[in-house]
């Protein structure tokens, strides 16, 4: 990758935006998610991993698909290896993906729009003009409640718009929600 490409904002933040050092969301700054979101992601990935590993283990050791798998698996596969493999893969993904995701995730409150960057394999930068926001939600699952995190979801009239910022500190998310919902179309009309 050449330098000029690396400089585009798909790699960084929008040009000229200083990286914020934590704290409340501030306009004109580039924000990372709350670092604890990695723990949140790991825990939920862990739950999924346990479910998947369990499913494979049940399938393998209760012998239900044995007949099915017999022909497909090469001879060197010992009993227990599929389960162990799935568990190992899940563990690796669980350790790696949240860190990568956290590193990619950025959002910025630009003058007229909300700028969101995410995506590990497929990089995605979404820019949502404030005036297009139809409604702004905050969501909190049980884990998030426990950790004091909150997800902010921003909706436009387009079904294809993905405005979702997970892993904000609860207070931060609520401030953001209030601020963003104030940029309703109506306000703009009055302004």
């Amino acid at each position: 990758m050449t330098e000029s490409r690396a400089e585009t904002e798909v790699g960084r933040g929008p040009p000229g935006t200083p990286e914020a050092q934590g704290g409340a969301p501030e306009r004109g700054m580039l924000h990372a998610l709350d670092p604890r979101v990695r723990i949140l992601w790991r825990v939920s990935a862990g739950i999924r991993a346990v479910i998947w590993t369990g499913a494979v283990a049940v399938a393998e050791f209760l012998g239900w698909p044995r007949g099915l798998l017999e022909g497909l698996l090469p001879g060197w596969v010992e009993p227990g290896m599929p389960t162990a493999g799935v568990a190992l893969l899940a563990l690796v993904l669980l350790l790696v993906i949240p860190s990568l995701g956290y590193r990619r995730w950025r959002y910025a409150l630009r003058d007229h729009d909300l700028w969101i960057r995410k995506g590990i394999v497929v990089h995605r930068v979404s820019v949502l003009p404030y005036r297009r926001l139809q409604f702004v939600d905050t969501r909190q699952g049980p884990l998030e409640r426990w950790m004091g995190l909150m997800e902010l979801v921003v909706h436009t009239a387009a079904p294809g718009t993905s405005g979702r910022i997970p892993g904000l500190a609860a207070a931060e998310a609520e401030t953001l929600r209030e601020v963003l919902s104030r940029f309703g179309p109506d306000e703009e009309e009055d302004g």
């Binding site: 990758m1 050449t2 000029s4 490409r5 585009t8 904002e9 798909v10 929008p14 040009p15 000229g16 935006t17 409340a24 969301p25 501030e26 306009r27 004109g28 700054m29 409150l109 630009r110 003058d111 007229h112 729009d113 995506g119 394999v121 497929v122 990089h123 995605r124 930068v125 979404s126 820019v127 949502l128 003009p129 404030y130 005036r131 297009r132 139809q134 436009t156 009239a157 387009a158 079904p159 294809g160 718009t161 993905s162 405005g163 401030t175 209030e178 601020v179 104030r182 940029f183 309703g184 179309p185 109506d186 306000e187 703009e188 009309e189 009055d190 302004g191």
Partner: protein
Amino acid sequence: MTEETSAPSGEGPDTLSPAEPAGSGSLEWAEAPASPLPGPEASSRTPPGPGTPGLIAPIPGTPRRPLPGPESPARLPWATALLEVRKILAGALGLFVVTGPAFRYVVPFLAVLVLARVVQIRFVRWWVDPEAFVVERGVLFRERRVILRARVQAVDLERKILHRLLGLTEVRVEALGGGATQGALPGIEPGWAEELRGELLGAGPGTGIGGQDETRPAGSDTAGGAGTVADGPRAGADAGAVGGVETAGPAPPDGIRVRLTGGEVAVAGLTESRLGAGIALLAVSLEPLRQGVFSGWFGPMEELMPVVEQLPWVTLLVGFVVLALLFSMVLSFVLTVLGYWNFTLVQRGRVLEVERGLLTEHRDTVPLGRIQAVRVQENPFRRLMGLAQVKVVVAGRPGGTAVSSTNVILPVGPRAEAFALAARVVGWEPPGEAGPVPPLRPMPEGARRRRRTRALLAAGVGALAGPFLLGGWGGRRFLEGPVLDPMVRGWPFMLLGFLLVLALGLPLARAAWRGLGWAELGSFLAFREGVLERTTTLLARRHLQSVEITSNPFQRRLGLATLTVPVARPLLEVDPRALDLDRADAEALRERILAGHRASPERRPPGGGDGVDPERGGKSTDSGALGVVSKAPEWDV
């Protein structure tokens, strides 16, 4: 009602024919052309009729009736219940075929089902009040759906044969929100259906009055407001007319008007390619064919099948493809002709009306301002003949690729005319003598390389598959023998497979790259993609809801990115997008679009056209809350 709001907004230049205020509620359009008396209560409804007599007239013999108001809601007629019961019975017939004698156990449940449906239908009540169209339903749980006039996206009427026999019309009032129709009446009196359509869209405040502040929350950002004038005089005349509600009279002299002859519809049918449908139909019909179900009808078939089964399977594959093509042609020809018979497109003031259909009659109405984007589609057959189809993207309506879609505003037409229509509908004024086809810029070289790489990869797969598929003897050896041996014997087939796929893939790759294109046309955008069928999407910048740039690893390697402009669209439609733009170009384009989007004058409140972005003014008051940096950042070009 919001008529008051439109008056002070003073959107001057978009009046179409100020001399033509609305007709009163009871005006008969067919009989009172060009003599619109401003009724005592001066309803804002537009009589769609007078301007274009004979094009889309009300269904004959259906006197218009004043619509039911809140004090006297209407119920669905008994005939509608009959219609719905028929649907249940049709399902039951299928069940009967499957279950045979055991069907009698189902009968009691069926009776309950039928009864319940009749009661349900009879419990539906609907009416129109000054602000909204209301449908109330439910026996135990009453549900009332209120669709604000301002939120109505389109009103589509449909009359299947049975509807026509029973004297009914199905009405679908589309609003934003999910894939399903928001306000559906399975069958009401045709007179009322027409009246409702006129009432909600003819000049209803929904699309017109206060085009700015009411329509945007609905997400569709009606072309309303004086601002559209900036997009060109045409925009002002067509789309911008939205502002002048009371003035929406008969279609202006240069209004859009298209009528397809029977021959043209036949051409549309012949050039419609529905390979997928053809394959499905063929696959479905092959099995009974093979089992000799039709042998009574087609005597020789039985002797034919064993012969067919002896053929090498490459021949079979070719035969299958040819048959599938034939099937799809017949199928799409029939469906197209039935669906688009008597196709008529008329612009009446600020709404577009489509009338079509041989057995099932359609009358679809959508305000120009509700059209988010227009797609010109050219499939290979049509490209050969210089023809194209035009489709609109309207939020709330069902999307998808049905053969005869409500969203098609031109089933087939000469390419230039198709593009001209598309341009008019979105309000783009093609500059000078350049013609209506937007001049597109090609995608960078990297985009071509990506497609070529894909062709090579496919050829690699072809090489691996070659010995198995082409090789007969060699292929079998490849499977059985030790590795080296079949490699030696199989390589001609590998080479053949590779070359065959490459010979097909490289031209396709080239076509795919040539199919790509983009253009920024003032405040409009045009994107094109498609390998065999090219789709050009044209949209006004103001319809964007957000802008996204994505890049996968392959794109990043080549410095490419995809720019998507999500709009308020049906779930099954694709958002306008430019595949494989240069990444820096994509980012620059995005910032230009966004800057233009917020600076566009149509967004300004009537008094504030002094170059100050109203949004910014409004925002600074919020600054405190965020501890805002108020300097203009670099990206704010």
